[in-house]
Amino acid sequence: MADYSYIALVPLLPLATFVLLGLAGKNRLVKWSGYIGSATMLGSAVISLYAAYQYFFVNGKTGDAYAEITALRYTWLEFAPGLSIDMGIILDSISVMMLVVVSFISLMVHIYSVGYMKGEERVTTYFSFLSLFTFSMLALVVSSNIFQIYIFWELVGVSSYLLIGFYYQKPSAVAASKKAFIVTRFADLGFLVGILILAFYSGSFDIGTIINRATDSQSEAFTGLVSAGFLGMSALTWSLVLVFAGGAGKSAMFPLHIWLPDAMEGPTPVSALIHAATMVVAGVYLVARLFPVFYIDEIAMQVVTYVGAISALVAAIIACTQTDIKRILAYSTMSQIGYMMFALGVSGYGGEEGLGYTASMFHLFTHAFFKSLLFLGAGAIIHFVHSNEMKDMGGLRKWMPVTHITFLIACLAIAGVPPFAGFFSKEEILLAAYQSDKIVYGIGLFVAALTAFYMFRLYFSVFWKKEAADASHHGEGTWSMKLPLIVLAGCTVVVGFIHFGNYISSDGAPLPTHFDIRFSIAPVVSAVAGILLAAYLYKKESDRPAKFATALGRLYRAAYKKFYIDEIYLFITKKIIFNLIGAPAAWFDRNIVDGIMNLLASGTARTAALIKGMQSGRVQSYALYFFGGVVALAILLIYIWI
């Protein structure tokens, strides 16, 4: 087995950048911070690509299938012999893929940020946070130990918090960062409980060991997991559902999605990196990592499927009504992740059955490219127009040609139009869904149509709708902003042709995917229909959209208000949790806990005040007490003890 320990450099280079830039302070190294960050990311990306080349093409296979390679392992905290939290790096087909995705997208975002954040104060801080995030995400995807995943999971959450709240003078940004952190933290509670249940029964925190023991129906771990139960569900189901809850929080699945739209308060490159391509797919990655264990539990798979499908549907409906460009993209992300989730949910394990798994990972791969491309393009647009709202944009195709072409490519990809990347990955997902659950297939098809519709609604509103009235006071953007767009657009075109099944499948063995033209008719037709409807409504400025909206009436209003979910959450927290749980707990803490302490203190003080009267300073009283003591001692010694 080849030595892959140089993989450790991939997360460590960004860590070094974080430390260097973090210590440099917010005003020093201003000119260099972007270049330093980009340089280290380039190094990481190159090493990841090299490792991917080595793994996939040279010596990753054991026998016929891609095997898990432990690159490094270090025993960190040992609770009992056999139960320890190790720090380790494993290389698996999906972890190598994720390394490539994260480092490459992060590199693009770094280069883009050099131009986007120019002139911003605290640039050094920004790049240090970006490096922190990249380090955490890279370390998360190569973790060998589920507790290590949890550690880096939290670290990713913290980096996200820091980056969303980057413009901390804006109260909306601060509120958004807090919301993101609290919602994901709340979900992570479930994650932690799930980890503990799994580890308790499997006797280990190591992922490979957990998978081996939990899926082996002869092992005592398996019998323990399925026999122990709580409220009717077995421990296995509970642990998997809870772990999925953690993943759902991080991946903004319904109903824990409320933080993702608000997270758009952060700078746009941050949205591109974190909330489009990498962090939000951490939940999908987690399910994929533990997929063999998920597969053996029916209920958990159902939960994964339906949560994914519902998220996809709800997000697509809401995205049709939003006017803020970044929020549309955020809901679009949520919808695509829903696709990835339900693809995993309907998947089987091994061979042909594992199509869903491969499809999900493929969609993750392609989605990273075109979604980050969309966000970076949106960033260029916002940079140009100085506003996030669609009504301030229009007819920009004349002033921003590069952005226009790349944005169009990305929209076509996400709509699933061949030959762009999104077509291939989405088609495989729909195929997997068709083979197992027709309802989910139907939802997937409908959402594909909606996706095409709202993405092209966005495209036409930004680049076509009206003639550009304002003269271009400044250019499209520097080369540093254009280069990533071009590169990503190129990737979007090319990546779809990778025969993904050869490299990534649920059991490691290559999965031949057939390309059935007849099956692809339905998705392509629905996508084209969506595009045409969007063109009809939005290509020229008109009142057709408004009439359409009033025709839909209440449904439109509910979708516009994001189905009132935020209001429900606010109601639950303010009226129920604060008043019924928080206030009594605070009362208890103030009056009883503090009260006991104060009582002890005041009791002592009062006793002392009583006793201090004995020290009156009067010598004769002292003499009396002295005499009394002598007599008492005498009586004691003479009559009682002797």
């Binding site: 004769q620 009396l624 005499f627 007599v631 005498a634």
Partner: protein
């Protein structure tokens, strides 16, 4: 009931009564005089017990030394004819009870104890015997305590002088021109000067 027993009872009665008067009378000078009589009673008790030397020492030191010293100090510190304030009734009652209890307790112990004489020699105290044993460095001699006590007396003399010495008062001119007496902390430095 021989004559010596009667004499003993009379002497002890006088001693106790005068002692009681010494601690209860409100006038301080009278208290001193009652003390004087009490001490003379104790001296007569010594006489009765055939320890004439001790009786003599008692009269010389206690009666004419200490009581006179006490009387001088009474003169130095207050008007000797005035009545002293009576103690609080609670205090007096409580002390009386405590004292009576203590007395009963002690006398109970004493009376239960069987005192046995170790030898039946006649008790004869010669002054020469006392003198020889006092200055005898060996064989139950009290030479060392004798010397130590003499140093103690020397120390007591010097101590008395130092403690009771009045510090010389320095005049300090303050801002408004009036003289102010120096604080008593000066005394400490003077003491250090004297003893160093």
């Amino acid at each position: 009931m021989s004559a010596s027993s009667v004499i003993f009872y009379i002497i002890s009665a006088c001693t106790l009564v005068t002692a009681l008067l010494a601690v209860t009378t409100p006038r301080i000078f009278r208290s001193a005089i009652w003390l004087l009589f009490s001490l003379i009673g104790v001296a007569s008790l010594y006489f009765w017990m055939e320890v004439e030397f001790i009786a003599a020492v008692q009269i010389i030191v206690y009666v004419s030394g200490i009581v006179v010293l006490i009387i001088f100090s009474i003169f130095l510190t207050q008007q000797s004819g005035a009545k002293m304030p009576k103690p609080a009734l609670k205090r007096a009652l409580f002390s009386a009870l405590a004292v009576l209890f203590g007395f009963a307790f002690t006398y109970n112990l004493i009376s239960k104890h069987a005192f046995t004489a170790t030898s039946t020699q006649p008790f004869a105290v010669n002054v020469s015997d006392i003198g020889e044993q006092m200055l005898n460095p060996t064989e139950y001699g009290y030479l060392l305590p004798f010397e130590v006590v003499s140093i103690l007396l020397l120390a007591a003399m010097i101590g008395c002088i130092v403690i009771a010495m009045k510090s010389p008062v320095k005049k300090v001119i303050s801002e408004n021109g009036k003289g102010v007496l120096a604080p008593r902390n000066e005394h400490k430095e003077e003491v250090d000067e004297v003893t160093s």
